[in-house]
């Protein structure tokens, strides 16, 4: 069974349909890069996966739990799905450490000392261990992005979604981040990424999914799909974006 | 002899509301005039004038309207004017209002200036109720007299409140709809 199953989902905002019959399965340990223009539906799909947005048709299942079922405990589900939005969303009034330890302390009732150690560990993974007690306003955009990833990792989710390939992660670190996740003991965590540039998709994804106007147009192994785009939309997208 | 609170009293109350509006209009003009003078004083290159204007605003904003009402009411005789509730009230409201007007005078476009101006008008209408305290017969004072005459204070004051509401609420709503249109236009 796949970790994430998305079957035939439709989503509309009023009369505008933003997701059209989208189907996607992600297995444990996979890293998937979702690419597409803004407005293609990538972020919307993300928001549906953890229940931030309702869907009008179709089924989404994370580790067997159906997301769009009204009986589902969304809070529990969201502890398993870590999200890093394109707009970072670090809480400006809390320090980096407090940002990261907030959910573990408040939701999982972790002890403050233990939570702080976890924070130190995930920060080290993104290369910012020395910023443990800094405030978001003191960090650059790229650093805030990395802290946001660390924050979602602290909850030990089964799935991590990054809204954009973090610009601050270079190859070495990315390898470190992904590698550490893979060594998570439970077979690693699949990652969904939605970079706007195909270039980073090549670096990060083992599978690439191209979305256009609410539909999945192409998907397949990263190298193959990006080297030989089959549909004109993907060709246009790649030529506009790849360098 | 207690009379009943009837339709005729309601008519008298509504008639008294005319004085509320008259006082409001006068104070609006007065406040605008003073406000323009103050606004000009604040941008003149003459430092003591600027300081005086700023001090004026701070002083006016830091004292209750009732104080201005009474100070001017009792101050009029000192400058040779006999006691006159209407004049005292109009002057006091003009002074008090002039310090509030800087949100109105600054915006360059008339459209943008409408919501704060309307807000100011609504405040003025409510403030005129205090003129009752120095004996000027506007809506609230008429209400006091009617309540004394009919021994039905609740009914009277509810009616008074309703009349104020009927004057202020449409203005507030209008201002809000303009604000909404401005937001859409942006």
């Amino acid at each position: 069974m796949s970790l994430v199953e998305i079957h035939g989902i439709n989503k509309s905002y009023g009369s505008v349909q933003v997701l059209k019959d989208v189907t996607l399965d992600i297995a444990k340990g996979e890293v998937v890069a979702v690419i597409g223009r803004s407005g293609s539906g990538k972020s919307t799909m993300l928001r549906c996966i953890n229940g931030l947005e309702p869907i009008q048709a179709g089924v989404i299942r994370v580790d067997g739990t159906q997301v769009n079922d009204p009986a589902t405990n969304l809070r529990k589900l969201r502890q398993e799905v870590g999200i890093v939005f394109q707009s970072f969303n670090l809480f400006p009034h809390l320090s980096v450490c407090d940002n990261i330890t907030l959910a573990p302390r408040v939701v999982k009732k972790q002890a403050p000392q233990a939570a702080r150690e976890v924070a130190r560990e995930v920060l080290a993974r993104v290369g910012l261990e020395d910023k443990l007690d800094a405030y978001p306003s003191q960090l650059s955009g790229g650093q805030q992005q990395r802290v946001a990833i660390a924050r979602s990792l602290a909850m030990r989710p089964k799935l991590v979604w990054a809204g954009e390939a973090p610009a601050g992660l270079d190859r070495g670190r990315a390898g470190g981040v992904l590698g550490a996740r893979d060594a998570g003991g439970r077979g690693g965590r699949p990652m969904l990424r939605a970079p706007r540039e195909g270039g980073s998709a090549r670096r990060f994804g083992s599978r690439v999914v191209f979305m256009h106007e609410g539909r999945i147009h192409e998907q397949g192994p990263a190298a193959a799909v990006l080297a030989e785009p089959k549909t004109p939309e993907l060709q246009t997208f790649l030529s506009a974006v790849l360098h | 002899m207690i009379r009943e609170f009837g339709l005729i009293d309601v008519m008298y109350l509504i008639a008294a509301a005319r004085w509320t509006l008259a006082l409001t209009a006068t104070a609006f003009i007065g406040a605008s005039l003073i406000g323009i003078v103050i606004a000009i004083a604040r941008i003149l290159p003459f430092a003591p004038l600027r300081w005086l204007a700023a001090a004026y605003i701070h002083i006016v904003q830091g004292t209750p309207l009732l104080v201005w009402l009474f100070v001017i009411f009792f101050g009029l005789p000192l400058v040779g004017i006999s006691v006159n509730p209407w004049l005292a009230a109009a002057t006091a409201f003009s002074v008090y209002g002039s310090a509030l007007l800087r949100y109105v005078i600054v915006p360059q476009s008339v459209r943008v200036a409408i919501p704060p101006t309307v807000g100011f008008l609504v405040q003025l209408i409510k403030n005129t109720s205090l003129a009752a305290v120095i004996g000027f017969v506007e809506l609230t004072r008429e209400g006091q007299l009617t309540a004394a005459g009919t021994y039905k204070p609740f009914a009277v004051y509810i009616t008074v409140a309703a009349i104020y509401f009927a004057m202020c609420f449409p203005l507030s709503q209008w201002s809000r709809s303009i604000e909404r249109k401005l937001d859409v236009a942006r």
Binding site: N50, S152 | P64, F74, L78, P153
Partner: protein
């Protein structure tokens, strides 16, 4: 000039004046606390509540904000006895001030709550925090910081507005003026001194709120 201004008699009555100051401060403090509690509850209802509740709160806010405080005061003090509810001046004053301030505070608190970027609220939810936890850890502090200046302004206005309670014979600072006036017959001087005292109080309040703002929100 008809006669020279004389302030000496006014200053001699400082005890009455001081009692008035105390009552004014008491009324202001109680009204601020009560008004803030109502404001927070109503704002929360308006932002998070069901639509019927939003309508009720909206009506309350509109009615209060479009009628004069003096009339509201008269309604409570003179009007309620018609239903057998006879309140003394001080109690009626507090109730009227709280109800009045509550309406204005509601709008200020609501603006503060809505100033918190939605993205942060969603981030909190996405981490698995419950609605209440999101409110407490993500929304509350930034909202308080955003609404503080407007709230402080409103509170100073309230303190000045407490002068109307003198009209139902509550012995606040403004009422003290009429006591001194009847004793000394120095009308103009009395009210000028009272005015200066209010000015001092307003200055003190503003300074206090600025200090609180600095201590709570700037020192990080």
């Amino acid at each position: 000039m008809k006669y020279g201004l004389q302030f000496r008699d006014v200053f001699a009555a400082w005890e009455s004046i001081l009692e008035g100051v105390w009552i004014t401060l008491l009324l202001s403090g109680l009204a601020m606390i009560g008004g803030l509690v109502i404001g927070i509850a109503c704002a929360a209802a308006r932002v998070y509540g069901p639509s019927w509740l939003r309508r009720i709160v909206g009506t309350y806010v509109e009615v209060i904000r479009n009628t004069p405080l003096l009339v509201q005061l008269f309604l409570i003090f003179f009007g309620l006895p018609s239903f057998g509810v006879r309140l003394d001046g001080l109690t009626a004053a507090i109730i009227a001030l709280v109800i009045n301030l509550g309406a204005y505070t509601t709008e200020i608190v609501r603006a503060g709550l809505e100033a918190v970027p939605k993205a942060q609220v969603e981030a909190g939810h996405s981490l698995g925090l419950s609605g209440l936890q999101v409110f407490r850890y993500v929304v509350m502090f930034p909202a308080l910081k955003a609404m503080f200046p407007a709230l402080a302004s409103q509170f100073v206005l309230l303190m000045l507005a407490t002068s109307v309670v003198s009209q139902i014979s509550v012995e606040d600072l403004f009422h003290a003026a009429s006591i001194v006036q009847s004793r000394t017959f120095r009308d103009f001087e009395v009210y000028t001194v009272i005015g200066v005292l209010y000015l001092g109080l307003a200055f003190a309040f503003r300074g206090l709120f600025a200090g609180i703002y600095y201590w709570a929100f700037v020192r990080r």
